[in-house]
């Protein structure tokens, strides 16, 4: 298969969409929390890591089969996200923004260290989650390109999760409250809405999506270790900024852009594969120079 062939392109395209979707799922958590609290939740990537461990232990210790294990892990991560907001961020709601930011960094370190101590620093194989591994090895042929079935499943699942997310945010009452809070917190509370509950829900929702992303990530790259959330978290943060932080469609666009650049740059310029991570940062710098508000971001209007 030549580098200029159509099937090579197709194969990379699917990989790019998959990777981009996984970034986007994490990026949405950053962007929703930022939209509401103007806080970069640096612990978000580590919540993804915790989600993967939850799935791992649900499958190995509770000996659940893979789908129930994933559901338990996603719910566990949602609860963890809610709890982190309650314990670490809620007491700082009226404090200067920098205090919450520093707390977020501390929370990130805490979760990583917690994982090292409790789960152990030695990487675990996520494959042990699957009783039946045959599905992982199936390959489909599309237009001459060989695409793992898993890639399709991840893409479809990611799209379905986004459909549910959009339904929640734009079609339900709690979603309306989330959008209202991102515009005006005091006025939202004047409507009889318990703002802290809605913020907690936002953390839970973002954390659930991060865990879902992490679990799919681990199916593809089956190494589970305490620092596994760091790079994807950072990339997803870049995706959120590139797409326009605070915008959910922006997070999706940013994620896909990042996924595409990483995959295509490495496959068409194999010599540069060592610089894989650098591409993301180059895009970040470029977007900050050209359009600092991001691809779909609005001009920042400082509220007085």
């Amino acid at each position: 298969m030549g580098i200029s062939s159509g099937s090579f392109f197709l194969q990379n395209l699917f990989n790019a969409i998959m990777l981009g979707g996984l970034y986007a799922l994490i990026a949405v958590g950053y962007t929703m929390v930022y939209g509401i609290l103007r806080l970069i939740n640096f612990a978000h990537g580590d919540i993804m890591m915790m989600g993967v461990y939850f799935a791992f232990y649900a499958a190995t210790i509770l000996s659940l089969s893979s789908i129930p294990a994933a559901i338990v892990a996603v719910l566990g991560a949602a609860g963890l996200g809610f709890l982190i907001d309650r314990i670490a961020y809620k007491p700082l709601r009226n404090a200067p923004r920098i205090s919450a930011l520093i707390t977020a960094i501390a929370m990130s370190f805490f979760l990583e260290s917690f994982a090292v101590v409790v789960f152990g620093a030695v990487p675990k194989s996520f494959l042990s989650v699957f009783k039946d591994r045959s599905i992982l090895n199936k390959v489909l042929t599309v237009g001459g390109a060989k695409i793992p079935l898993l890639t399709f499943l991840v893409i479809i699942l990611t799209a379905a999760i986004f459909a549910v997310l959009f339904w929640i945010v734009y079609r339900t009452k709690i979603g309306m409250a989330m959008r209202a809070i991102s515009m005006d917190i005091p006025t939202t509370s004047l409507m009889g809405i318990n703002v802290d509950m809605v913020i907690g829900f936002t953390f839970a929702l973002g954390s659930a999506l991060a865990a879902a992303s992490g679990i799919m990530w681990a199916m593809r790259y089956p190494n589970v270790f305490p620092y596994m959330g760091f790079m994807p978290g950072l990339k997803a943060f870049i995706a959120a900024v590139v797409g326009g932080i605070g915008s959910i469609p922006g997070a999706i666009v940013g994620g896909l852009v990042l996924g595409a650049v990483e995959i295509f740059a490495v496959s068409y310029f194999p010599d540069l594969s060592g610089y894989r991570d650098a591409f993301s940062f180059i895009i970040l710098i470029a977007i900050l120079l050209i359009k600092p508000s991001g691809i779909l971001g609005k001009k920042a209007i400082e509220k007085v």
């Binding site: 309306m176 409250a177 515009m183 509370s189 004047l190 409507m191 809405i193």
Partner: protein, 240 residues
Amino acid sequence: MSEEIVLNIENLHVYYGAIHAIKGISVNVPKGKIITLIGANGAGKTTTLSTITGLVKAKSGKIVYNGIDITNKPAHTVNRMGIALVPEGRRIFPELTVYENLMMGAFNRKDKEGIKQDLEWVFELFPRLKERLSQLGGTLSGGEQQMLAISRALMSRPKLLMMDEPSLGLAPILVEEVFEVIKKINEEGTTILLVEQNAFGALNISHYGYVLETGKIVLEGPSQELLNDETVKKAYLGIG
């Protein structure tokens, strides 16, 4: 015969840091009436309303609503008890549609039929809103936003409606319309606490008034009497 008191504020003190913004005011809001707080900028009118809603905390004093102490209760609890505020500057959610803004007002209600009825009611009060239902709140004119802010508050079907300068920044013809609507809402049974700089308009439609100056009540009385009071005439009505 004593009248039923909806809201009773007793010796309320509020500070912003070191600034003593409200210095021991006492206000009574009887059921079914329009009570007005008038005063210049910085007199403490908005602070008083914010303290009732729970957005600003009181240092001392008591706020009693229908016999229940609501001093320093969180804002969402106060609203759920039946107190709605039309905030200063309207505070419309700019990127929610007019319909969504109205539904934000009815957020905690479960009675679908009642919500529908109240929607019809606010469309009757402000027919223009009906034409704008799917428009974003931020695209409305100032007057329309004020109508939306009043309607949004009404959608919670409040027992006590508080309004913070509803006439501010409106064209004279709209000011009159807004005061007419306030009167109408009251006649249909809602108790109103109205804060205004437009003393003439407010005293004209209200039953009882309080004059606030730098955090203190300097004068109170039936609105008709205040309209004829020499000091009020001089300081707030520009007469005499």
